[in-house]
Symmetry: none
């Protein structure tokens, strides 16, 4: 499923207009189209002030994973399903490559006029530019910690 799917990469800038629209960067759009996604799926991150965005590959594989369980007698499964699927919206991409972000998502991520798209492989995130600048170095610092605690010879 994941094999052959190209990753979202780079950190790119974008802007939110008065109508709450953002233009999805062209490279990301091409990847979404390659997943035959009718738009882009977006949900609030449940640990950070950011939006998690992805295409059909991620959504469908998550969905099918959950669908292996009984639909009515699997409470833990319901919690996971809820945290992702209930919080996710399908945003239609128009011909000029833009989506209308619902107010709830704008609020969750605290988006102002300038936003940052962050490529994360299977998914990408959308941050308010200033907030992201603040966490960028923290992330790199954590990555260094992981490297330094990695066991020699580990994969």
């Amino acid at each position: 499923m994941i094999a052959g799917v190209r990753p979202f990469i780079s950190t790119l800038a974008g802007s939110l207009d008065k109508k709450g629209r953002v233009c999805i960067p062209a490279p990301y759009r091409q990847l979404l189209i390659a997943q035959s996604t009718e738009g882009v799926y977006a949900c609030p991150s449940f640990s950070e002030p950011a939006l998690e965005c992805f295409g059909d590959v991620v959504l469908q594989s998550f969905h099918e994973q959950q669908a292996k369980e009984d639909p009515f007698f699997a409470p833990a499964n319901d919690d996971k399903t809820f945290a992702i699927l209930a919080m996710t919206q399908l945003l239609a991409i128009d011909e000029t490559g833009r989506v209308r972000l619902p107010d709830s998502l704008i609020e969750h991520a605290g988006l102002k006029e300038t936003v940052t798209f962050v490529g994360m492989g299977r998914k990408f995130q959308v941050w308010d530019q200033e907030r992201f600048a603040a966490v960028l170095n923290e992330r790199l610092a954590r990555a260094r910690t992981i490297r330094d605690t990695q066991k020699p010879g580990a994969p």
Copy 2:
């Protein structure tokens, strides 16, 4: 069976009018039509004040799952089957996309004027808006717990 079936996603607001009607959100209607369901199946949740709604895919797969057991000598199976199939009604969707909710279902979920549709993959739930707002954070908290205890490398 599930492959290719798109999940119910998002949480959407709706309203219950004086006649006991609710408008099924357009995206959900399209999914139901794609399941060739003539309307929508609904039953009271047996663990929460909410309604469980779904299409033919869930009904049929649940049915087939239960049908693997002995029809007369599997009491636990009978209880599960009863809790779902006996409590389920098929609600007709009219041309404007609305269903008439039976009073028993309205009462079970304690529905007031504003209701919330909660996408849960194969099924969706209907909640009274205020009640749902109260349980939303509990659900997200449980999902975080699940994530934090997840084994590294798990899908």
